[in-house]
């Protein structure tokens, strides 16, 4: 019925007769035969085979599981809550009798014992909880140009002309501009912690606490700078007032080390780096290892933590802690990291085993078959 057509048959068409439509506009519009334009760029097409996938799984498993174990096992942490919520706790009295105007500081001592010696450098942190350092109003309540040593933000008449940061409100100025201004600086942690080792014979030995090197290098050397011009900080900060909650002005923060005063005080810098979560810790000091390296930094035994209790946290149901920790190359002890490594490693390893058995049973039948089709 249907006649057979030969599609390739010459259609007897005159090539000269086809070029209508204006000979002048006729250009050769033949597309370029380049690999890009023809979508024929040489391409690597990854194909997953048993040969590549299985070793990858095993390698990941074999690397991750040991790392996880090391992270879990290695490192020591000790945590002591000295808030004084319970009647029985030594700092209960101090926590009750709180007032910013107290000139008399309240001290309390907390006894604790170490079951294991802490080797190498030991880091001492103070921890706060339920303290929202990451609240937006709090985070932005600072004046970075002031902290970087910009003198104009210290001068009263300029500040009143609204030239200095408004973000510091309501901690911007009292009668004079406040230095350092803002809520962060105003709420600087001001408890003093001291650590004593109690020898078996009963005598107390003060453990040296080093305050150097607790702040970030960049913070100390780049972001925070004292106003230049005069080495005498008292002169520089003339005409400013201390933050409302502070007992001492900013240039007297560290009575022992004159280079650690003003905006570059390391405790101050550490505090100014706002924490990410409402429960946080900040580096207080470093207990350096003994030079002879024969005895541990903190040997096993009894200790006393002497707290000068200044910082009120009960009003917002907060907690204060002292934390001793050793540090590995991956940072402080963090059980989560170890567990995560072990989990990922073992999942990969198990998957590898499952796939290997599948490959062993079915892969032989057609050798060329790929695991993922």
């Amino acid at each position: 019925m249907a006649p057979s057509y030969n599609a390739k048959e010459e259609d007897g068409h005159q090539p000269g007769a086809t070029g209508h439509g204006g000979a002048g506009t006729m250009t050769n519009k033949k597309p370029d035969n380049t690999a890009f334009k023809q979508q024929r760029l040489p391409a690597w097409q990854p194909i997953l085979t048993a040969g590549t996938v299985l070793p990858a799984f095993f390698v990941i498993g074999l690397i991750f599981i040991p790392i996880g174990f090391i992270l879990i096992v290695y490192g020591l942490t000790l945590l002591i809550d000295y808030t004084g919520v319970d009647m029985s706790s030594p700092c209960y009295n101090c926590s009750q009798s709180y007032s910013w105007n107290n000139t008399q500081s309240c001290t309390c001592s907390v006894h604790f014992s170490l079951d294991q010696p802490f080797e190498s450098n030991v880091f001492m942190y103070y921890g706060l909880s339920n303290f929202y350092q990451n609240h937006r109003r709090y985070v932005k309540s600072r004046d970075d140009s002031q902290l970087n040593g910009d003198k104009t933000s210290l001068q009263y008449h300029i500040c009143t002309l609204n030239r200095c940061s408004k973000e510091c409100e309501p901690y911007r100025s009292s009668d004079k501009p406040i230095a350092p201004c803002g809520a962060i600086a105003n709420s600087l942690f001001n408890d003093t912690l001291e650590l004593y080792y109690i020898d078996p014979n009963g005598s107390r030995t003060a453990i040296p606490l080093v305050k150097k090197g607790i702040a970030w290098w960049t913070d100390k050397h780049v972001k925070f700078r004292n106003p230049s011009g005069n080495n005498n900080l008292t002169v520089v900060f003339q005409g400013t007032s201390k933050p409302v909650n502070w007992r001492k002005p900013v240039f007297e923060l560290d009575p022992l080390d004159s280079d650690n005063n003003g905006f570059i005080n390391e405790d101050f810098i550490v505090w100014m780096r706002t924490a990410a979560l409402p429960t946080f810790r900040k580096l207080y000091c470093i207990i350096q290892k003994k030079p002879n390296n024969m005895t541990p930094t903190l040997p096993r035994g009894e200790y006393i933590l002497e707290v000068t209790y200044n910082y009120p946290v009960r009003s917002f149901d907060g907690r204060k802690r002292m934390i001793l920790s050793t540090i590995s190359w991956m940072g402080g002890k963090n059980p989560f990291l170890g567990i995560a490594y072990i989990t990922v490693g073992s999942v990969c390893f198990c998957l590898g085993l499952v796939l290997l058995s599948i490959h062993y049973r079915y892969g032989k039948r057609n050798n060329s078959a790929e695991i993922s089709s």
Binding site: Q14, G22, P31, R137, E169, T218, A276, R281, G332
Partner: protein, 1036 residues
């Protein structure tokens, strides 16, 4: 009182002395304005246009909220991308408008010659007024719509090509107003014509010389603006329509916007994400006030509020908090997605026009992309509506055989004998017999006379080769509107009768004895698709008046004597089943009374101002009766290259192919068989006028209630055939309750058939069918492909319109979304490009939503840990640059270059097309998968880092990390995960993919190094840090 639907024009602004004083009518000037903007209104108008887009408006609102309300992120974060998008779009549109201005000026400032009070004056084209007499010389374009008054040619005609209007480059003849006086200066006349209307081929006018002299004018007297004068030295014409009222300007209108199904999916997803956004903001606002109500939380001693904050009204505070949360989370719906999608579409469409497989050496052209919005729709086609002539077939007509008086004549050898007939097997076993010589010659004369073919003159210099029909033998070209006519004239030439051309109303024919016969052409009864026939009335030398008529068998047979029909019908039907186009030829000797009657009828009808068409039709039908049938012709129309393979591939890809043709059923059916649309095993269901008649005879029931057949036999292929007349019964039946029932029943039957053939369709019916399928249940994606003006309606109607750069002008190409040179290219366009584009854009869209969900989810979760204070987790720079710089390039490159399966495999395995059918990759299932993936990863990022920060001493020096470091760690993990996810999805790694994926990761590291230095996490790089740090503001 004058009718409002016509206008009166005074030629040369001279009123008739007899009529009332001239009231100069107001017409618009001859200025063409295609530009949208002026210098003054560009900014407001363009901005208004741009912000009418929902997405832009949304981003504007977000931006304004950021400006007005104290929000956590600065207005720059959303303002900058928005500004970028708006500016780029404005520049693009401004440039396009500048080009339009330039083109307008070129047209408007063009100098033309106008006759004013007997003097020739040069004027700018825009100053022409309606009624001016304009002079146009050869090769100039007409400055406005003119009525031809005078031509330099002796026969009062001029030639015109309308290539720029409808793309037809053949010469068309136009006539001067008959019998006007030659002196244009003293001519005073009025022209009464219709109000401007866009139809190029419709024009009804009466020309009157001061009441005493009336002539009717038609489109053959009207010279359209934009057309070019050819082969004529000079003409004079009077302007009737000017400026924006010309037919060209009225036809110039933007095509309606087609939107792809993908865009609809995107909008649906956007809505989901908007809901997520609003609910996130609501949850946070509510929890914030719940949290604050606990004592000591809202305002602890270390974090006092300012006086202003304390004074603010609680409800106002709640509202601004809600807005702040909205702003904080608004990155979930990114501006950049719109930009990326647009860019992907725009750049991606180049691959179609660059494809050298689409290049046709014959016409020296490749594929043409008129819109880039529909690239992905090419991968979603479910129904293909194809034209037959010129699309499935080549529209390259060749005279195959004829049948005279029941005897078959097949042309065998060219010009061996003077009467080069070679008689093959006659139908009724009348071997070696011929019809009488008289009949033969009558038939051939009919072929030579009954047409509207022009002979191309040798002076034409090849600038208007017409449809390329140059006969190789004697370099004589024929120009005709339809290639069939040329084939017939050339067929007659093979048998010794040569049409020599027209000489002032005389047709000259050279007969077998090389004598020239002349016939006076009295009337042409034009072809139209409703009558499906055309006739001429000629007067021979001897004074006889004859009517020759040729047309489709169905329109001729009822008008001739029945006994003649039986002899010829067999031939016609056999030819039709072989796939030839058949025409029947009849004639009639008109007595002088008959002629006079016809003549007056025709003249009256031609003069009519109203319903001219209908009146003409009535006269035509009256004249074309009682003819006697002489014979039939068979013309072959070859199949396009690889038509069958293409159709097979389309069907293999799960598309349903419907053939919509104006041709007759038998011809169309055989084409379908040849294209393998119908297989031998296909069971054909016919619903045509013929079957309706036979059913009506057997039992008087509705055709639709007839065969309660079992559709269950799953393996059986069905083909369905319906013709135009029956279709109009189905679609336009009386508006009773049954009509919609018929329609849905019809649709149901059609959708169960693999192939549907609709024959004898009017152009509008084609569009009707497309519309019906388009709006049917499940709204399938339709594609129309055609090459001629009669396909334009269905090309515009379908989701995707494809034009073939064929022989029937360029109208289809201009109205199409994509144009390809040959039908065979459709296979690669759909199965290759379409499939890839769909997969690419679907992946692009899903990936974009995914990456923004897992970007913003940690920010949402962080609110639970910062007292719902709208503290952003990420730094502002990261928020802004995440979508612009860090993650945009890899996905753009991937969405342009990805070939999850390479092109050759896609083309070889048509069934792969079914994998992505019905929007498979953008349905709720995949969307849910991507969303869950985004949620899962967002949770993992946030809580992973949250637990990591249970001891924030992450360095070996014991120093702790703060909140910005927290965000930066989350962000770093996020950027790496999101980019590596894309890397894992990439199946086709070219060097560009490598460059962009690893490059953007490297860029991120580099940037962070400057910005935050978090990269120094594990590396001791303080010395590097130190050197960079002084130049950049530090936050971390």
């Amino acid at each position: 009182s004058r009718k409002v639907d016509s206008r009166t024009i005074y030629v040369g602004h001279r009123p008739c002395p007899t009529t009332e004083a001239l009231i100069p009518p107001k017409f618009c000037d001859n200025r063409i304005v295609s530009s949208k903007y002026t210098v003054w209104n560009f900014l407001p108008k363009n901005l208004f246009e741009q912000f009418r887009r929902i997405a832009n408006f949304y981003f504007l609102i977000i931006f304004l909220v950021q400006v007005i309300v104290d929000t956590p992120t600065s207005p720059v974060t959303s303002g900058l991308p928005l500004f970028f998008v708006i500016t780029v779009t404005a520049i693009k549109q401004g440039y396009e408008d500048w080009l339009r201005h330039k083109a307008d000026n070129e047209v408007n400032k063009y100098l033309v010659t106008v006759l004013e009070d007997g003097r020739r004056a040069r004027k700018e084209s825009e100053k022409i007024k309606v009624g001016d007499v304009v002079e146009v010389v050869e090769d100039e374009t007409f400055p406005c719509d003119l009525i031809l008054l005078q031509s330099s040619r002796e026969d009062e005609t001029c030639f015109v090509t309308t290539a720029s209007l409808d793309g037809e480059s053949n010469h068309k003849t136009h006539y001067t107003v008959p019998d006007t006086e030659k002196n244009l200066e003293s001519l005073s006349a009025t022209i009464e014509c219709e109000q401007p209307q866009p139809d190029l081929y419709k024009f009804v006018t009466v020309f009157s010389r001061c009441v005493v002299f009336f002539r009717s004018l038609g489109p053959e007297n009207l010279l359209l603006k934009g057309a070019t004068l050819k082969n004529t030295q000079k003409i004079y014409g009077v302007a009737v329509y000017s400026g924006m009222e010309t037919k060209m300007a009225l036809n110039y209108q933007g095509k309606s916007q087609k939107r792809s199904a993908v865009e609809k999916s995107i909008n649906a997803f956007l809505l989901v994400y908007l809901c997520i956004l609003v609910s996130k903001a609501l949850v946070c606002t509510t929890l914030k006030y719940v949290w604050q109500s606990r004592p000591g939380q809202d305002e602890p001693w270390y974090n006092q509020k300012t006086q202003k904050e304390k004074d603010t009204n609680l409800y106002l505070k709640m509202f601004t908090d809600f807005l702040s949360f909205m702003v904080l989370f608004n990155f979930i719906i990114p501006v950049s997605m719109y930009v990326t999608v647009e860019m992907q579409k725009f750049l991606g469409s180049f691959f179609i026009s660059w494809d050298k497989d689409f290049f046709d050496p014959e016409i020296q052209e490749g594929a043409l992309v008129n819109t880039s919005d529909l690239n992905e729709e090419l991968g979603q086609v479910e129904y293909v509506f194809t034209d037959k002539t010129g699309t499935l077939t080549q529209n390259n007509m060749e005279f195959i055989e004829c049948c005279i008086d029941g005897f078959q004549y097949k042309y065998a050898d060219s010009g061996t004998e003077l009467d080069g007939f070679c008689v093959t097997d006659g139908p009724v076993s009348m071997l070696q017999q011929k019809a009488g010589r008289e009949k033969e010659e009558l038939f051939l004369r009919a072929l030579c006379l009954c047409h509207t073919v022009q002979v191309k003159e040798a002076t034409g210099q090849g600038d208007g080769v017409g449809d390329g029909m140059i006969h190789p033998a004697d370099l004589r070209g024929f120009i005709a509107s339809s290639p069939d006519e040329v084939a017939l004239v050339k067929g007659a030439m093979k048998y010794g009768f040569k049409f020599l051309g027209m000489e002032s109303k005389n047709m000259r024919v050279m007969n077998r004895n090389n004598d020239v016969e002349t016939y006076e052409l009295l009337h042409v009864l034009n072809f139209d698709p409703v009558r499906r026939r055309m006739s001429v009335i000629v007067r021979t030398k001897s004074g006889d008046t004859m009517l020759f008529c040729k047309g489709a068998d169905s329109s001729i047979f009822p008008r001739v004597r029945q006994e003649e029909v039986d002899r010829i019908r067999m031939h016609v039907e056999r030819n039709a089943t072989e796939g030839y186009r058949t025409l029947c030829v009849a004639y009639k000797l008109l007595s002088s009374e008959e002629y006079d009657q016809a003549d007056t009828g025709l003249r009256e009808a031609k003069l009519a101002l109203q319903d001219r068409e209908e009146k003409l039709m009535a006269v035509y039908n009256q004249v074309e009766t009682g003819m006697s049938l002489i014979g039939a012709t068979a013309v072959e129309d070859r199949l396009q290259e690889e038509a069958a393979e293409t159709m097979e591939a389309l069907q293999g890809a799960g598309m349903k192919v419907w053939v919509l043709t104006g041709d007759k059923m038998e011809t169309a059916k055989s084409t379908c068989y040849a294209c393998r649309l119908f297989q031998r095993s296909t069971e054909l269901l016919e619903l045509t006028v013929r079957t309706l008649h036979s059913w009506a005879k057997s039992k008087p029931v509705s055709a639709f209630s007839v065969p309660p057949r079992s559709w269950s036999s799953a393996n059986q292929d069905y083909g369905f055939i319906i013709d135009g007349a029956t279709l109009s019964l189905v679609l336009n039946s009386s508006p009773d309750s049954n009509s919609s029932c018929y329609k849905s029943l019809f649709l149901q039957i059609c959708q169960n058939c693999t192939t549907v053939l609709c024959c004898r369709m009017a152009p509008l019916q084609k569009a009707q069918i497309v519309k019906m399928v388009k709006n049917s249940k499940g709204s399938p994606i339709t594609l129309s492909i055609g090459d001629g003006a009669n396909d334009v309606s269905m090309i515009l109607e379908a989701h995707v319109g494809i034009g073939i750069k064929g022989r029937e002008g360029r109208q289809a190409v201009r109205n199409s979304d994509y144009a390809i040179p040959k039908l065979k290219h459709l296979k690669k366009l759909l199965l290759g490009h379409g499939h890839l584009y769909y997969v690419r854009i679907a992946h692009l869209v899903q990936y974009f939503f995914y990456k923004n969900l897992c970007f913003i989810l940690p920010q949402f979760l962080y609110q639970f840990f910062c007292g719902y204070s709208q503290q952003p987790l990420y730094d502002a720079a990261y928020l802004t640059m995440y979508n612009i710089c860090f993650t945009s390039m890899p996905i753009l490159a991937n969405s342009l270059l990805e070939q999850h399966i390479c092109m050759e495999v896609l083309m070889d395995n048509a069934a792969l097309y079914r994998d992505v059918a019905k929007n498979a990759m953008l349905r709720w299932g995949p969307f849910l998968y991507w969303t869950l993936l985004g949620v899962y990863q967002g949770l993992l990022f946030f809580f992973g880092v949250r637990f990591l920060f249970s001891n924030p001493a992450l360095q070996d020096n014991g120093q702790v990390f703060g909140n910005w470091s927290y965000g930066t760690i989350v962000f770093t993990v996020l950027v790496f995960t999101v980019t590596l996810k894309l890397a894992m999805d990439t199946r086709h790694w070219t060097w560009i993919n490598h460059f962009v994926i690893w490059g953007s990761l490297a860029f991120y590291m580099f940037f962070s190094f400057f910005w935050g230095g978090i990269i120094c996490l594990t590396v001791k790089c303080a010395w590097l840090y130190k050197s960079f740090i002084y130049t950049t503001g530090q936050k971390f």
